[in-house]
Amino acid sequence: MVFASSTDMDMASRIPFDEMHAHGDAVREIYRVYDAWLKDGSMQQLERKRQEAEVLFRRVGITFNVYGEASGNERLIPFDVIPRLLGAAEWQMLSRGVIQRVKALNMFLHDIYHGQEIIKAGIIPAGILTNAQYRPEMYGVDVPGGVYAHIAGVDLVRTGESQFYVLEDNLRTPSGVSYMLENRKMMMRLFPELFRRYSVAPVEHYPQVLMNNLRAVAPPGVQDPVVVLLTPGAYNSAYFEHAFLAQQMGVELVEGQDLFVRNNAVYMRTTEGPRRVDVIYRRIDDDYLDPLVFKPESMLGVPGLLSVYRNGGVTLANAVGTGVADDKATYVHVPDMIRFYLGEEPILSNVPTYQLSRTEDLKYVLDHLPELVVKEVQGSGGYGMLVGPTATKQEIEEFRLRILSAPGHYIAQPTLALSTCPTLVEQGIAPRHVDLRPFVLSGKTVTLVPGALCRVALKEGSLVVNSSQGGGTKDTWVLENA
């Protein structure tokens, strides 16, 4: 979750950076052609295109069930027809930055489950081993190619022409890539003329790259690996994405009940009898994977799966135990990981973060609570969180007590003035805050397709881009020669 406010120290009294207009009325170079096209058309035309998109998305069934509601109530994530544009040079930098980061994170995961050199070197405190996301079951387990986070979604935000920050690394079961792909398909259908005016780098080969990577991390010795995608089922909110990716890769979409373990191998139940499975792209959280090891009440997983996995009989993507690397407590150490494992300076910055386990940080944060965002480590989705600028005095005081009772459970960050992007809303075109999630794929190499999921906070002034809280999506265009 992302917040900004007018009290941001660097940006006080300035309007946020706009992807189309920077800080003023002038149109940024890469948006010139789009701006001219927009001025030629009418609002009614744009609105018609928006409605057309909605009808098409419903037909394709890019919908999600809302828990507890009847099956008829499937929702669409709002789609905005105005794209976010990124120039070739901007993308080069972001792309190198996230690849560097994911490389280091994979090396960290290998290290933390093996020699733990980074702890011995005194760069990360040994306390990380008691993090709830650290899985002792993974200690000493070798995974093919040393790849843990096969798919990583890195959340980026922007505050100025060249100020990008990494807000969060998602290394467990990051979702949203189907929106990147479907949004592009939609834009090409709605606005073919714009694709003639701009050289937009294609993203459609994402499932191919993913499939090649998944095959490349099969257990050693497997010639023609059988890959499957494991979903919690049709009522999961990301089910569309699971079905979409399985179909695009030509692999079976399985549920836990379709798999079973026998003789140190995983099989699926087919019409022709059991068939061995070599690689599982799982979209189920660690906790639900294997009732014999994790939550015993889980009906979604496969009993015995972890034992086969630890013996190398099957590959899981992502690996078990990646959560320790994307936890907020670990986040602050990622720049140091990059220096330690790669001997390079980080290309992308973290958001400045106060670790409340440190006395001086704690003092500063307690003195400045109304200006800061305080987040609970090992939590996600905004529950254990204080947003200083929008919180009441009472909420701040209550949170102060919670911090004081366990300072090590919290980090704090300044509220950032997230960039905005022109967005079609009821009143017309207006700036709305956005973030960016590129999907980094690791196999034999670490790559990403030139594109990303752009999430947009549709409510005026809101900085919350999550789809569960009224966020929408936009297509992101990486321009090849701009």
């Binding site: 179909q247 079976e252 979409l253 087919t270 019409t271």
Partner: protein, 313 residues
């Protein structure tokens, strides 16, 4: 392919076919109700439609009055009736959604669109002027479904299970329709030939799109035994029992391995009766008995398919 996937595909196709057949029965029954003196009462007119669907008892438990509007609502729209068109289409779409990755994109979008369009009929009272429009819509969506499967799906096991579901369901429906109508129309094998009988038999033929075929083949008055022959033994009538089993046996031939043996044997047995049977003998032993026996063995085949492929471990 996954057994669970095969199961969903098979039932998706069965439910679409079931909806289509229900629409056919509703449509011709409604048209029949417009013929003067077609029946003594509304109940006598509409009960057969419930019988074909196997719904008489459930209907009587839920509604007091045997009015056209009540029966139509019950068979077309009632969410509490598991074999209403509403329920069948909803089940078809849910099965499709569960395995959308195994369908071609166009097949999935077609079924999803069907479900989205269905909403427009829920908002209006379809019992009078718009019933025919509704039934035509169901039929044409079902045609589209088969067409899009045929035109876009890879000829693999997934396709076979879809086709299998279609023909097992269709055979069941044709047999029930013929059984109910034949029973009603020939209580004591009395002389026929009255106007109402003509309309009744032509309605049966129209319900299975066989009216024009009948004229083409026999170009003669509509005789019940010829109707029976057309719907049971003719292999060139796409909704006849024989035609359904030509399809079923050839689909089962495409599955290799041990698992297909028992379903193939059962299907072969049924097919032989249709392929080598003679109408005179069927009538001698009783058409009703023959059809009842057929529905039972067709069900057995369905269970055998379920056991061998769909619930496989």
């Amino acid at each position: 392919m996954l057994s669970r996937t095969a199961d969903h595909l098979y039932w998706m196709a069965r439910y679409i076919e079931r909806a289509e057949n229900m629409a056919r029965v509703l449509d011709v029954t409604y048209k029949m109700s417009l013929v003067p003196n077609a029946a003594d009462s509304e109940a006598a007119l509409w009960e057969p439609a419930l019988q074909i669907a196997g719904n008489v008892e459930a209907f009587e438990a839920s509604h007091v009055e045997y009015t056209a509007a009540n029966v139509i609502h019950y068979l077309a729209m009632d969410p509490n009736n598991p074999s209403s068109i509403y329920s069948a289409l909803r089940s078809a779409r849910e099965n499709a959604r569960a395995v959308r990755a195994a369908l071609s994109t166009e097949t999935w979008e077609n079924i999803n669109t069907l479900w989205l369009e269905f909403g427009q009929f829920q908002a209006v009272d379809i019992s009078e002027s718009s019933l025919s429009e509704f039934c035509d819509w169901v039929k044409s969506r079902s045609h589209l479904f088969r067409g899009v499967c045929f035109g876009t799906m890879l000829r693999d096991d997934a396709f076979c299970f879809v086709r299998l579901g279609t023909f097992i369901e269709r055979a069941d429906n044709t047999a029930r329709l013929l059984d109910v109508k034949y029973h009603l129309l020939l209580p004591d094998e009395e002389e026929i030939g009255g106007a109402v009988d003509y309309y009744e038999w032509s309605a049966v033929l129209r319900a299975v799109s066989a009216f024009e075929a009948y004229q083409k083949i026999f170009s003669n008055t509509i005789e019940p035994w010829r109707v029976a022959e057309l719907l049971v033994l003719r292999d060139d009538m796409p909704r006849s029992l024989h035609a359904c089993f030509d399809e079923i046996t050839s689909i089962l031939d495409q599955f290799s391995g041990q698992r297909s043996r028992e379903p193939r044997r059962v299907a072969g047995e049924i097919h032989a009766r249709l392929h080598f049977g003679r109408m005179e003998e069927i009538f001698q032993d009783g058409l009703h008995e023959f059809l009842e026996e057929f529905v039972t063995s067709n069900n057995q085949l369905g269970m055998e398919i379920q056991r061998s492929f769909l619930n496989a471990h």
